[in-house]
């Protein structure tokens, strides 16, 4: 079997797991945000910002997926079908960090965002601090993204 299969599996892992995580995270935060807006529509912009925070993992996944695709050659048409199994598995391994960490961190970031939206509901002037809590969770997604990018780039 060509290693391309595994390389593409890696792309799928990065994009879909991180994307699923973001979808869930943004969903969780969105429910809380909608609740706040029913009470006070003026807070729309603030809660929308907080809702969007867990959305970045999906973008990181896309990012890694895209870099991997272009590395494999699937974008330009120059695919190396002779890629060995080991090479393909290396791509898969490189994509794992952002896939897994993206999935979990986005969900937890979504829950943290929902809690921060609660802060904005009661104390809108504390928006700066409310924004920090979800950003703390995101750090780990960024670290995973970094390792994934560096690994793919080194392949």
């Amino acid at each position: 079997m060509s290693g391309v299969v595994f390389a593409l599996l890696g792309v799928a892992v990065a994009v879909s797991l991180a994307g699923m995580g973001s979808a869930m995270g943004v969903g969780i935060a969105g429910q809380a945000a909608a609740g706040v807006v029913t009470e006070d529509p003026n807070k729309f912009a603030k809660v929308l910002l907080l809702q969007l925070l867990p959305g970045t993992q999906g973008i990181y996944g896309l990012l890694v997926g895209f870099i991997a695709l272009s590395k494999i050659g699937l974008l330009g048409g120059g695919v190396n079908w002779e890629m060995t199994m080991a090479e393909g598995l290396l791509f898969l391994a490189a994509c794992l960090p952002i896939g897994l960490v993206g999935l979990l961190s986005a969900i937890y970031q979504g829950q943290t965002s929902a809690a921060s939206i609660g802060i904005v509901a009661k104390k809108p002037e504390q928006f700066g601090k409310a924004m920090l809590f979800p950003a703390m969770v995101e750090t780990y997604a960024i670290l995973a993204l970094l390792v994934s990018i560096l690994a793919i780039n080194a392949l």
């Binding site: 896309l62 895209f66 870099i67 950003a135 995101e138």
Partner: protein, 670 residues
């Protein structure tokens, strides 16, 4: 770069001047009023709740009238009206509101009354419509609904549950009252729920027929009217039409009040400001002939305020420094560039007593990091131009909003700079367009290097910027300690850490661990290596021995010191946190390339070109928005957690002067 020096003032004046003095203070807007003394035998507070409630109610009436006007005569407002700020009103004109306040208030009440009339009229129309609808099943009936009898016959009008036709009705009646023959049964209308019937029979038989019908569920109509239903419904419609016309006329009368908008706004603000004044008045300590008030005023405003007050009134004006045990409210004062970032500082927390205002240094770092995270020349230019346009176009924009926009304008410039350094113009749009449409790939070369081709290099620089940022924070802590004369703390908490960290970094760089990251082997002269080694050792030993220097117990002291040394791990995580500079910078560029690539896949025909432009515009708008959010949040985080964590706690109370806080207009000072 500073927290404004505050002074405490105490004003004592004649009671008869109290309102005028308060007005002057409110207009000046430089004094935060505090409550010091409490009531005693001589000085008492007066209750102003009643007048305040009247003022609040009047302001609310005007607000409500404005809302009604907005509903019936919507005022055109552009997308950017939120940026425009409040219009200016002459102080003279504002004072004159009082004179015709009666008339304007009357106007407001009239608007509210008209609106009430309109909603009542609409309710009546609905009622008539409901009544007409109730009669719909009877529309085919050509005699009055109330008709009970003629000379010789009885008329039975009513409904039966369920749907039946005339034959079924005859059959059913024949079954229940077999003897009856001299009758006429009509089905007026029939639906799944009920059937309306009209039955005519000889008077003698009426009872028997009704009995028969009743067993089938016959009921007379709930509302019987003495008119032919069709005529009656027509009449109802005519009435409804009349009411509608009346409502429209009333609406027109309401629309005629459109011009009172400006007066209503002034009136609302006038009463709002008066209510604020009376709120302060009720807290004022007053004796029979005098009153006394205390508060904080920024030192640079004190002189002007004193002149203003003493030139017009007989007052005693005492100025004193803020006592040691009291915390003065905080007002930041920075230069044109740094003041833009005051909002960022404020949303973390204003400097507490004894802390310095970090805004000046932070603003530079903020703009620097923001640009590095977004790092696309085109995006930077768009942000810069948009903010610049808004600031120029709306000179009366609200102050905090203007500061934020100004900050983003600078951030846009920084983004432009980094974009040029890294060769990002809408990602790789120039390459893609030139290759796809013109057959020759043109690349705008990066002034420095392209991050995607060499992420390791940018990672090293990100960490380097981070370490500089963190050291800057530690340096400010050192400055604050030196300023307070705490030499020992400065040496133990700052100098030792510098020695340890610098020593460790210098020891790490030539090691084999770093060589692949730096892509070269660095070798320092032996003297540097020795200095690094000894610096780290002295630093580490010093921290273990000295950081818990207030503890008497030597074992506890060493243990706590060792724990403090463990804090080195937090330095490591802080430094690694700056890797987000690389990650976010790459994110912008790569997503931009994805968009460009997607757009160019369709082809170079007319359709392809049009689709490319559409995808290009929407895609880059999305990318800009999402990365703008990312850059904003993560730059804030780097400042708040990593930078402020080294020296700054915040927790100061904001300066809240007694001002004319208005909703619609800003009053021009004369």
């Amino acid at each position: 770069m500073a927290v404004l020096q505050m002074q405490k003032i105490c004003i004592c004046g004649l009671k008869r001047d109290r309102k005028a003095i308060l007005e002057l203070l409110q207009a000046a807007g430089v004094m935060e009023i505090t409550q010091e003394a409490s009531e005693d035998g001589v000085f008492r507070k007066t209750d102003t709740l009643e007048s305040r409630q009247i003022f609040d109610r009047n302001a609310a009436t005007a607000d409500h009238a404005l809302e009604v006007l907005q509903e019936y005569v919507p005022e055109e407002s552009s997308l950017f009206s939120g940026l425009a700020g409040k219009p200016l009103a002459d102080a003279e004109r504002f004072r004159n509101v009082k004179e015709n306040s009666e008339a304007v208030l009357e106007d407001a009440n009239q608007i509210l009354a008209l609106q009430k009339q309109i909603s009542e009229l609409h309710a009546s129309v609905v009622r008539l419509q409901t009544e007409a609808e109730g009669l719909t099943p009877w529309l085919q009936l050509d005699i009055p609904l109330k008709c009970g009898e003629t000379g010789k016959t009885s008329v039975l009008l009513g409904t039966i549950g369920g749907e039946i036709n005339r034959e079924q009705l005859y059959a059913a009646v024949a079954e229940r009252a077999p003897g009856l023959e001299r009758m006429d049964l009509e089905v007026i209308s029939s639906g799944p729920d009920q059937t309306c019937i009209a039955a005519v029979c000889i008077k003698e038989d009426a009872e028997q027929l009704e009995e028969a019908l009743r067993t089938m569920g016959f009921a007379r109509p709930a509302k019987s009217i003495d008119a032919i239903p069709a005529d009656y419904v027509r009449d109802l419609e005519r009435q409804a039409e009349k009411l509608r016309e009346e409502a429209a006329a009333t609406e027109n009368r309401l629309r005629a009040h459109e011009n009172s908008r400006e007066n209503l706004r002034l009136l609302s603000d006038y009463y709002r400001v008066r209510a604020q004044k009376y709120a302060v008045l009720s807290e004022l300590l007053q004796s029979e002939k005098t009153f006394v008030m205390t508060g904080f005023v920024p030192a640079r405003e004190v002189k002007g305020l004193e002149e203003k007050l003493s030139s017009r009134f007989d007052v005693s004006f005492e100025v004193s420094e803020v006592p040691e045990d009291e915390e003065a409210p905080v007002l930041l004062s920075n230069g044109s560039f740094s003041s833009a970032a005051e909002g960022i500082t404020a949303s973390f927390g204003l400097p507490a007593k004894g802390e310095i205002d970090p805004t000046a240094i932070m603003s530079v770092c903020y703009v620097f990091f923001f640009g590095l995270m977004l790092s696309d020349a085109a995006y930077g230019l768009i942000i810069f131009l948009a903010c610049f346009w808004a600031i120029k176009k709306f000179p009366r924009m609200e102050t905090n909003l203007r500061k934020s926009l100004k900050l983003f304008m600078y951030c846009g410039l920084s983004t432009l700079f980094w974009g040029v350094m890294f060769g990002g113009y809408f990602g790789d749009a120039v390459d893609i367009v030139s290759r796809t449409w013109f057959g020759r790939q043109i690349t705008i070369p990066a002034l420095w290097f392209v991050p995607l081709n060499n992420p390791m290099r940018l990672l090293i620089f990100s960490l380097l910027f981070g370490v500089i940022h963190l050291f800057l924070g530690l340096g400010i802590k050192g400055y604050m300690l030196l300023r307070d004369g705490k030499i020992m703390d400065f040496i133990c908490d700052v100098v030792l850490w510098y020695m340890l960290l610098l020593g460790l970094i210098l020891m790490l760089i030539p090691s084999s661990l770093f060589a692949p990251m730096l892509q070269m082997q660095v070798t320092f002269p032996a003297a540097v290596n020795a200095a690094a080694k000894w610096g780290a050792i002295i630093g580490a030993v010093g921290i273990v021995l000295m950081s818990a220097r207030d503890k008497k117990n030597p074992v506890l002291r060493i243990a706590l010191g060792a724990y403090d040394l463990y804090g080195i791990s937090s330095w490591l995580s802080d430094a690694l946190s700056y890797s987000r500079l690389l990650a976010l910078g790459l994110a912008t560029g790569v997503i931009a390339s994805v968009i460009n690539q997607m757009g160019s896949m369709i082809g170079t025909g007319i359709i392809g070109t049009v689709l490319f432009i559409v995808i290009f515009c929407f895609g880059h708008m999305f990318n800009l928005a999402i990365n703008l959010l990312g850059a904003y949040v993560h730059t804030c985080r780097l400042q708040y957690v990593e930078f402020f964590g080294k020296f700054y706690e915040g927790g100061g109370k904001a300066f809240e002067p007694f001002v004319r806080s208005t909703k619609y207009v800003e009053i021009k000072e004369d």
